[in-house]
Subunit: 373 residues, 4 copies
């Protein structure tokens, strides 16, 4: 039994998602050793034991450091709250384990920098769970762009909107505290930035506006409390490659549930995408008969690898959780030393720097360059 | 070790799909014992061994009857070509195993009838893999209808279209042979019928028209061969409950990839669905301000159970394979003796009778009643 | 002043629509003499006078025969209730006037036959107001089909649905009386048939099912009255050219407002259209990279003549009333003796024969051939 | 004959559009005197005569000042190139005529200011042809917002995109000269600003980024010429009412033909609109069953006045040119001294000031307040 030994810290939604991916990756892809689900850590032994049974892990512990010390564990999934990522990821890397850490890296830039340094020292794989980039349709977009299907890209708009903070009557909770971050900017903007990075590279200059749709929110105890961060962020930016872009994020956008909408404009065509219809892209090309030009709605199909590993027929649809299985497969490639479609700690750090620059541009009401800091 | 012992016969796409479901059902739902993947059968021992490793089964065999004889196997997934279903399912039922058999039951009505009889005798669960009915959005449609959200339903249109037979240049293969069945009718129409059954009940009278878009198809050896069945079928029908319906199926429909489109008309509203956008339904209600009425696009969300078992956020999207995991969970309920959202052999048999009646109505150019035969 | 002299009988919605067209056709097209709006007839002199002022006609009368006798009138628009069409159109034709008559020709087939005969005798233009065929996007569909863009067409589905009869609480009125016609069949099915005719030719055999969603409807006086015709009709049909088709009509379809949905399947592609989005068509072609195939949404543009006569920029949108202006321009071509994109009385009669055949196929529960009668 | 006397200067597309509106307004609305099409001016007498015949004007002239001097002309449509608007509109106003002038008012802010001053002095109606605000669906949006249907609006995104400048191979022409204006900003941004104004009021602060997708464009004579203005503009802005907004304009956006997309976010719901589907809006409300919430696609219908004046049935669709007829009707109301849904020179001037502020914010790379200048 030679499959990789897996440890999992955290069993919230993302922990479950990692567990499902570790469970399914061999069956889906058929070209990798079945990973061994060695050990799972949770905040206490009871919960850990229950979750291990549920998620198929062989052993469990209430102390995550047991996984660090477990020689049978080769790779550790870190899916705990963001504030814990740095300590766990660094410990794992220093113990010679590969790390698969959920995004964002850390609330504080200094912590993210320490994580990146630890990864660089370790020589191990240290990847961030930016699952949206794993969508075969995003890869198809990349293939189209790299293949010149829409010529030279000159402008990109990207929106990420949900409505879980949209109700002004919902109670104040930690997401509205300044200590949790800037609001929409770090909650949401990291995802569009991961897509912009994969498709076009890193950000150079930014100017952001941010808004509090509700100045205060009610408390369970009665009365209300002032909201400390911003549910809406809008950013003008320029990428290093010269492309101009507008990035918009709104976590109070009624009716939007998982929207990540891309509009990519090139010199010979355009591409549209919306994560709410994640199995579709739209492609316009200035080609062929003028009377027949239009946006073409392309449905995900086996030809858009690795969709074929999941379903042999087109148009049947992958789901959100399937993206994590693909990400897991990429991680296994990286661990094998192969080229992988992943965002590692070094690029992840640059994404997080962009977020902090956006916040600064808002605070100082001016364009901020990423080269400044 | 108390989880159910699982045997799997066949590892084509549906076999893989069953394996993924058996692998994931406990992790996803968290409320069932993790099934034990006991044994897998394929056409020869080598393939079986390779697939067992890939799909996580403990043992393997080149002889499917080994599974029948294996006391540790409690339930058998039958995912072999349709012609083998009867023999395997009946053997399994007679050996006291539960059976989870892919659709359709059998090419010959007589075989389907024998399967149903065996199931009735056995007292075991004998369910058919009609996965589309497991979509939480289909359940939501059912809840809407049963709750009176669109009043009394009076008319239903349902279309199932794909394009895998659309190219007249693709070589003649067994799907165009009469021995494989009627064509679109049994390939496709069973799925819409499974949905009609779940939502409204069984069919009473039918009249069908069928078409061969291409009279012949090329042979690899040169020349061509006459097509023996029909890629397109259109059916007027009346359900036992009195609803009138139109059922259309086309496996030569360029551009359609996995379309199963429902239009349900009621006395106070309408519901639309298309499997190509399986995470959405559209609901129109004659309610509220006239100036604000319209079709409402509802995105799958945790409130549409069991979506919540997969993803805690709305609008993120289930995939086709997830439906099989839900089906597997329903099967476990049925085995526990609980009420389950499944199509068992008895109702499955009636679905297949409808197909044969449609073919007869075409051959005899007349309305055919299901009560006739 | 050499423009054609126009008479208008009837000033309901369609009368207004004709008036708008006569008023605008010269300005829009710029290549025809401005018609002279000579005389308008209504049921009494007062209404006629008021409408003439409103709609820009020079004179008015309460007696439509005055228009027949008016030597300055060259062409007469007949937009009165269907039961009056025959008398008026025949009188106009016999007086040597061209006739532009609203659809359908007449409730009774015998009347439609007399109209056709009168037209044939007269040598004048006798056209029916099938405005949907005038949509530039329908012409584009025809150009695509005729140019082989989707290969050989083998199957067509067409639906026409609205919801003006959908409310079971709305009072019984003449549209539910048998004397008004078959219901959805003549209210709606003529429009799809006009499109099928323009694109593919006439119908050969039919079998229809018809449904009354509501057996009775309330009376203003209290109580209720039995509904005498059918709001829903579904028809399997074969065209003379061999294409198989399904035609569906529902005037009780909640949420549908002006839906006329076409699905055209060919050997190398498909075309979709919905009148509710009348400025769009969708085209799928099995061409180019497989990974990039999809339905292409084509927006109406100047290249789709005569859109260019209305708007010089693409994607800005024609409206329903604009179709009548195009129809009017075609009528002027026909009057000039040029080839025109119109449905004349001879083909219109065949469309109405198809309707009667459908009703018969329902009554007799059998396939009916158009060659029978 | 008491209808208003109309003069028209200019017969390009917008001139034709005005002529169509003057021709049809009485027939469509039935509640206003039929305007008299008195005189038309073009650059020379021949063209003027030809256009007068075509568009139905009684007289014509090669000298636009003849219209100013014509006592029978009560209102003048100014549809000439933007650079001529000021001189003509001011002359007309000073001669005591009402003015209906196409947008924008003038390339130079000083000219727009003179126009506004002339209008103020004259006491006559001086309206700008911002036709998009006349869409009944825009009025419905306004009614929804004003009626509190989506609570308090907190954020708005608006995009205007077309592709007439998208081809880098198309020859350099005057639209790329600095003298023609800023590019997308004045070509396009005025339209979104007209909508923002009608719905929410004026702009307070702005910061813009602008891009040249193509640094140079080819010359017919060979070689190329540097592009002097920007085809793409993106603007963060705050309205006087406090709402934050993002305005995006791109005249090189392949595939976009007439897109003006609005996303309006409020405290209890959202509204979406896209001019390419101008007969639809989408409304999301946080109301009713959670499991049934979704964006509702509302089709234009008679209840959305004045759609009813055009068509008595819902979902049949107005066209772009119909908006001008509505605008004409509003103008007649204003002339009668009634409240009208129009943008007059005073608010139009403020819209144009916003454009200049955006350009300045780009040039100076900073937020600019409208109160500054």
């Amino acid at each position: 039994m030679t499959g990789l030994g897996v440890g999992l810290i955290g069993t919230g939604y993302m922990g479950k998602c990692h567990a499902l991916a570790w469970n399914s990756v061999a069956s889906v892809f058929g070209d990798v050793e079945r990973p061994r689900l060695v050990a799972l850590a949770e905040v206490n032994a009871d919960l850990a034991a229950r979750k291990a049974a549920e998620l198929g892990f062989a052993t469990s512990t209430g102390n995550w450091r047991d996984l660090i010390d477990n020689a049978d564990v080769d790779v550790i999934s870190v899916t705990t709250p963001n504030a814990f990522h740095a300590e766990m990821a660094i410990a794992a890397l220093e113990a010679g384990k590969h790390v698969w850490c959920e995004k964002p890296m850390a609330p504080l830039l200094a912590d993210a920098e320490r994580m990146q340094a630890a990864a660089a020292r370790s020589g191990k794989v240290a990847a961030i769970g930016y699952n949206y980039i794993q969508n075969p349709m995003i890869r198809q977009i990349k293939a189209l762009i790299d293949g010149g299907s829409i010529g030279t890209v000159n402008h990109v708009r990207i929106e990420m909107d949900e409505d879980f903070m949209a109700d002004p009557q919902s109670l104040f909770y930690w997401k509205s505290e300044a200590s949790s971050g800037y609001g929409a900017l770090d909650d949401f903007a990291v995802h569009p930035l991961s897509l912009l990075f994969i498709l076009f590279g890193h950000v150079e200059t930014v100017i952001a506006d941010m808004v509090k749709p509700y100045a205060e929110r009610p408390l369970a105890s009665g009365g209300s409390r002032a909201v400390e961060n911003h549910d809406i962020a809008s950013v003008l930016l320029r990428l290093e490659c010269g492309i101009s872009s507008v990035l918009m994020a709104n976590r109070s956008a009624w009716g939007r549930k998982g929207r990540i909408a891309l509009q990519i404009f090139g010199s010979t065509g355009s591409i549209l995408f919306d994560q709410e219809r994640m199995n579709e892209i739209e492609l316009y090309q200035n080609a062929g008969e003028k009377a027949e030009q239009g946006f073409r709605r392309i449905l995900a199909a086996p030809i858009h690898a690795p969709y074929d590993r999941f379903i042999p027929a087109p148009g049947h649809g992958l789901g959100f959780n399937d993206l994590k299985i693909i990400e897991c497969r990429e991680l296994l490639s990286a661990i094998r030393g192969e080229r992988a479609h992943l965002i590692h700690f070094d690029d992840g750090l640059r994404i997080e720097r962009s977020i902090h620059a956006m916040a600064r541009s808002f605070a100082e009401r001016r364009w901020v360059s990423l080269l400044e800091s």
